[in-house]
Symmetry: C2
Subunit: 338 residues, 2 copies
């Protein structure tokens, strides 16, 4: 199984749902263009853009979990569109906060239209995520179930902002411990993947207890996923990731391998007192991380969270073949190179 096969199966219906939602944003003086640009649908002038952007991991998890829990994946399309729009909202604001000039090889929204417009485009995308979720009402789903999905979405969004806050706070903090770091990535990254898995099962079945097991799966996958991102930010192949080599070291980012290194090496702690790194510093940090086995320690943590995710799946009696596909998708995310 490849992600492409899942995209072939779910992509067209997902795309149709998202486009129907975004069409609600009136195209006054380029308003909708910014939103559609951020989603990778158009160029800055509104003409179609056809290269793939983003992997759509989260909505695929929603739809697979809906099916694997024994329901009809189509029921969960509004939730799938909602998590993808929410993810894109967070990217628009993240790129402003990190002053990132490009994403998926294109200028970021703030870079094209300025910070003020990008803040507003993100806010619009946030509203559209809720408009997408509200389409659960169109299919005659039980109202109590829709309300539960909505409540879950609300708490997830609050959790995202908590994680984002911690991530930014850590930039100006000399010492960050691993627990605080895990709490941060749980909010910033894993919470939405956990909610994706839970929403899929909840919307498709209405079974809260069952949906919580999916949450458990998603949370652990999400943490493992973020740890893999950290590994790629240091040791990823630029040709594959599309990012510069050791980019997180140059940015002095306190990602998990660095935190492990700082625990183990006084030399590294000394180096990280500097306010900026030269390329010699970057080389030195890479050598020191190697010397203290920071990479293998990080990969061991990734594998541990991944193991918990698979264990959570195994407690579930999943419908075939989507149960197998879900497990395969998780395996693809582990050890990925981009």
């Amino acid at each position: 199984m490849t992600i492409n096969r899942l995209l072939q199966r779910f992509g067209p219906a997902l795309d149709e749902t998202m486009r129907a939602v975004v069409a609600r944003a009136a195209d006054e003086r380029g308003f909708r263009t910014m939103i559609e640009y951020a989603l990778g649908w158009v160029e800055t002038d509104g003409t179609p853009y056809r290269q793939a952007t983003g992997k759509r991991i989260r909505p695929l998890i929603v739809l697979l979990c809906a099916e694997a829990s024994g329901g009809d994946w189509r029921t969960a399309l509004p939730a799938a569109a909602a998590v993808e729009l929410l993810h894109n909202f967070s990217l628009i604001h993240d790129d402003i906060q990190d002053a990132s000039p490009t994403r998926h090889g294109r200028p970021t929204v703030w870079k094209v239209w300025g910070t003020a417009n990008a803040i507003n485009a993100g806010d619009a995308m946030f509203s559209l995520a809720y408009c997408a979720l509200a389409r659960l009402s169109d299919d005659g789903l039980p109202e109590a179930r829709i309300l539960k999905a909505w409540h879950l979405f609300n708490t997830t969004n609050l959790e995202l902002t908590r994680g984002q806050h911690l991530d930014m706070a850590f930039e100006s903090t000399q010492s960050v411990d691993k627990d605080a770091y895990l709490s941060m990535i749980t909010g910033k990254s894993a919470a939405l993947i956990a909610a994706s898995a839970q929403l899929g099962a909840l919307v498709a079945t209405g079974d809260v207890t069952l949906s919580e097991k999916f949450h458990d799966f998603g949370l652990n996958v999400g943490i493992a996923f973020q740890i893999r991102d950290d590994i790629l930010g240091i040791w990823g192949e630029p040709d594959v990731t599309g990012k510069s080599a050791a980019i997180d070291i140059l940015a002095r980012k306190k990602s998990l391998p660095v935190l492990i290194g700082l625990e183990r090496s006084a030399t590294l702690t000394q180096t990280y007192r500097k306010s900026a790194f030269t390329s010699d510093d970057v080389e030195g940090v890479l050598r020191e991380l190697e010397a203290v086995d920071a990479r293998s320690a990080t990969e061991a943590m990734e594998a541990a969270y991944f193991g918990r995710a698979i264990a959570a799946l195994q407690t579930l009696d999943l419908a075939r073949p989507s149960g197998t596909e879900l497990s395969e998708l998780a395996h693809l995310l582990l050890g990925r190179s981009a």
Copy 2:
């Protein structure tokens, strides 16, 4: 009736509801402090702040409309808290977008904590607004009614971002016509007041048709309210408004009196081609606005929208005394001096 009397009646329960919602935002490394600071509850260091900030117009409208429609205003507390939190979300982001250094005499959130944190604090406030609205589920309200309130909230939020987009787009547009301007203030300002009135009636009674009449009232009050803001931005007394005299002229803001002036005066059109204004220019603009009766024309439009609002109220058979209070509140907003 004064707004203070309404605040005495509704304020404590509103405050309690908002505080219960905000308490859900974990106070990790100052995260909640930013939110509570923006709400005027604490100083930047988290110690209590006791001066009044903001007039709480929108939640008062929610609660008065709930009661005037024949329901129990307490039922609408979650909706009242939600619109107030949403309003505060929009202020945090507005202040970044306008680069405003102060609000209610205090430094703005971005000024204290920087743009990146302020974007995130706004996003958190947005999520908290939804968390507040979701508390409608706690009181055993019919689920279908809660879903309708949620859908209304979603479309309102999208409308807010459309209005904000137009407002920013107009800054770089040489000619803005009055219809485009009214469309902008409908989104940016009136939509939330309209939703406040509608939510109050909808939540308290579940009567959609009735709630739409309240929407009509709120929309017209909201437009009149914004037109009054435009008048104060030019002719407000600095001692009363807390803003500099003719601040909107100096900022070359294309507010309604200016648009009317531009329609009527070639001299003014010439002046507005300049990219920055001196104090002589400001004096000249004020004289020209006077010469073409722009103020009275603007006040006539304010009065017209106000008249429609009152007419909408009169089609309703409102419960006493809150129906009277609602009409009195609208009268207070018309012709106000701050």
